[in-house]
């Protein structure tokens, strides 16, 4: 056996831990960060307002203030027309929280601190996403409860009703990935809050969420009819109230898959680059 003299200051060769251990610890990190985010949410009255009170107010405003002026052709009147739309709109706006939290995390240095620790780097994004999904579920259930209290009813049986809620959640999570990218790319809480998410307004309001698209001027209908928010809401309405399911189901699935396929890699890239 020969002893070789190592060159001065050759770095130590430390193999990374085995995959099984990495996965186990990574999952534990996701759980830790999810619990952290949920705890923060419960402690901050502003967050509770935006995720619980504001969507409730929207339901009541549209049901009682605007609803009377909007003629629709569905079995239970405007409240039945409204609920699938407002669930989708609330699901989309819930992603505000994702964008702002990620921008703040980068700006304040919390995310850098986490990334300098021996924890799974992906856990920062995954923990955020899991917590925001749970938050979204709570928001949607609260809205549904308020909707029921003011006269909304499912007309198509329990199975499609559950599917409608699930589609609403899937839609919200999809928009979350776009917002995550926006927050990570802009990296400034104030900018994200003031203009980072303006695209959500035309997307949700120039849609079938609150009014029948046929009431809009022709040039606007072309956009409103074919944009993904309308397609998802049409499908949710068919699930809730009865109606043709197949075409919009495919289109919804394709849209959601396409958005995720574009924005998850973009968000991950922005996260890797941001510091």
């Amino acid at each position: 056996m020969t002893t070789t003299t190592l060159p001065p200051l050759a770095a130590l060769d430390i193999p990374p831990p085995p995959m099984s251990r990495r996965v186990r610890l990574g999952l534990s990190d996701v759980v830790t960060l999810t619990r952290r985010e949920l705890r923060i949410w419960f402690r901050n009255p502003a967050y509770l307002f935006f995720t619980i009170i504001q969507p409730m107010m929207f339901v009541l405003l549209f049901r009682y203030v605007f609803g009377g002026a909007i003629p629709v052709n569905v079995p239970g009147g405007y409240v039945d027309f409204l609920m699938p739309g407002i669930i989708a709109q609330s699901a989309a706006f819930a992603s505000f929280g994702t964008a702002i939290a990620l921008a703040r995390g980068l700006q304040k240095g919390v995310i850098d601190r986490f990334r300098a620790m021996p924890m799974a780097r992906s856990a920062v994004l995954l923990g955020r996403l899991v917590a925001d999904t749970l938050r979204l579920v709570v928001t949607l259930l609260v809205i549904l409860a308020v909707g029921y209290a003011v006269g909304f009813r499912f007309h198509n049986g329990i199975g499609p009703a559950v599917l409608m809620v699930l589609l609403g959640i899937a839609f919200g999570v999809t928009i979350c990935t776009v917002s995550a990218f926006v927050g990570l790319a802009i990296k400034d809480e104030e900018s994200v809050g003031s203009f980072g998410l303006v695209w959500l307004f035309p997307l949700t309001f120039v849609s079938a969420a609150f009014v029948p698209v046929s009431s809009m001027p022709g040039w606007l209908q072309a956009f409103a009819k074919n944009q993904p928010v309308t397609i998802v809401i049409d499908e949710m309405r068919s699930l809730a109230l009865g109606g043709p399911l197949a075409l919009h189901a495919w289109q919804s699935a394709l849209w959601l898959a396409a958005i995720v396929a574009v924005f998850v890699p973009l968000a991950v890239r922005a996260y890797r680059r941001a510091t």
């Binding site: 190592l6 001065p8 200051l9 770095a11 130590l12 060769d13 430390i14 193999p15 990374p16 831990p17 610890l25 534990s28 990190d29 830790t32 960060l33 952290r36 705890r39 923060i40 402690r43 901050n44 304040k108 240095g109 919390v110 850098d112 601190r113 986490f114 990334r115 300098a116 620790m117 021996p118 924890m119 510091t275």
Partner: protein, 340 residues
Amino acid sequence: MTSPRTDWSGPAIFVEDVHKSFGEVRALAGIDLVVERGEVLGLLGPNGAGKTTAVKILTTLLAPDTGRALVEGRDVVRSPEAVREIIGLAGQSAAIQEELTGRENLEIMGRLYHLDAATRARRAVELLERFDLIEAADRPTKGYSGGMQRRLDLALSLVATPQVLFLDEPTTGLDPRSRIGMWDVIRELVSAGTTLLLTTQYLEEADELADEIVVIDRGKVIAAGTAHELKNRVGGDILQFSVVERGRLGEAAEAVGVLSDAEAVLDAESGSLALAVGGDGSHALVETVRRLDALGIHTEGLGIRRPSLDDVFLSLTGHAAEDEESAATSPRRQRANRRH
């Protein structure tokens, strides 16, 4: 096959010819650093000098474009996970979550370092006590003072007892009293043997805390040594005075100019002059009095002093490290004021 080496007898931090650019901006233009185990290195430089970039590279947040950086022998590019196991980082802005209590913040860090429940709880109490936060432990950190937030932030970086600690401008933005409090905390920490790399814009902070100081400017190391060595580089004692009649400053400068090869630093607004006069300060003082008296120039605050790190920075870079505002609120002055 032999098992990989995990013993390391080299320096705790070893940086060799590291370059890093962001597009056109050269943040680091080839820097070298060596920090021995248990030593405190003060990385000193103005805003934008490259201090934070250096820390980000050493803490695996940024990859260097070229060059090598090792922390306890672990390469930051090849084994970043192994580096993260043994370092702690506390940054410019407190990374605490303000909705959570001090204890909860520490507890979550413990979980992310994968410590078991008993260790997490014990560590949290130890650190809260050590940083004088135990009474505020169960209050949301939103209500903490700036100094308390920084102390908690530092405590968070110590949860897993790091071998090498990085403090990136730990007192920037703190009021003078809290800054002195932070210094005491950091001094106690390093007396326990932790290797520390500290970045700062405050010359006196480096002077107070660091064994060795590296001055960087525009991404390059421009000087290195102990505070004492750096001060000697300025050229011994500094002669300093102000002229009562501001207009005669030039005349005075000419009169004392012959006492030294160095160039006098003049401030026309305050009428003050500073001149490095080498080892024999008292001789220079006598000569100055004689010459100015002969010309009938009246002075204020005439004296000889040891150079400060401000003088060092000025002589190395040709520009001051601190702006007027931060210099005016520096703790040493504040302490002096409080004595009156």
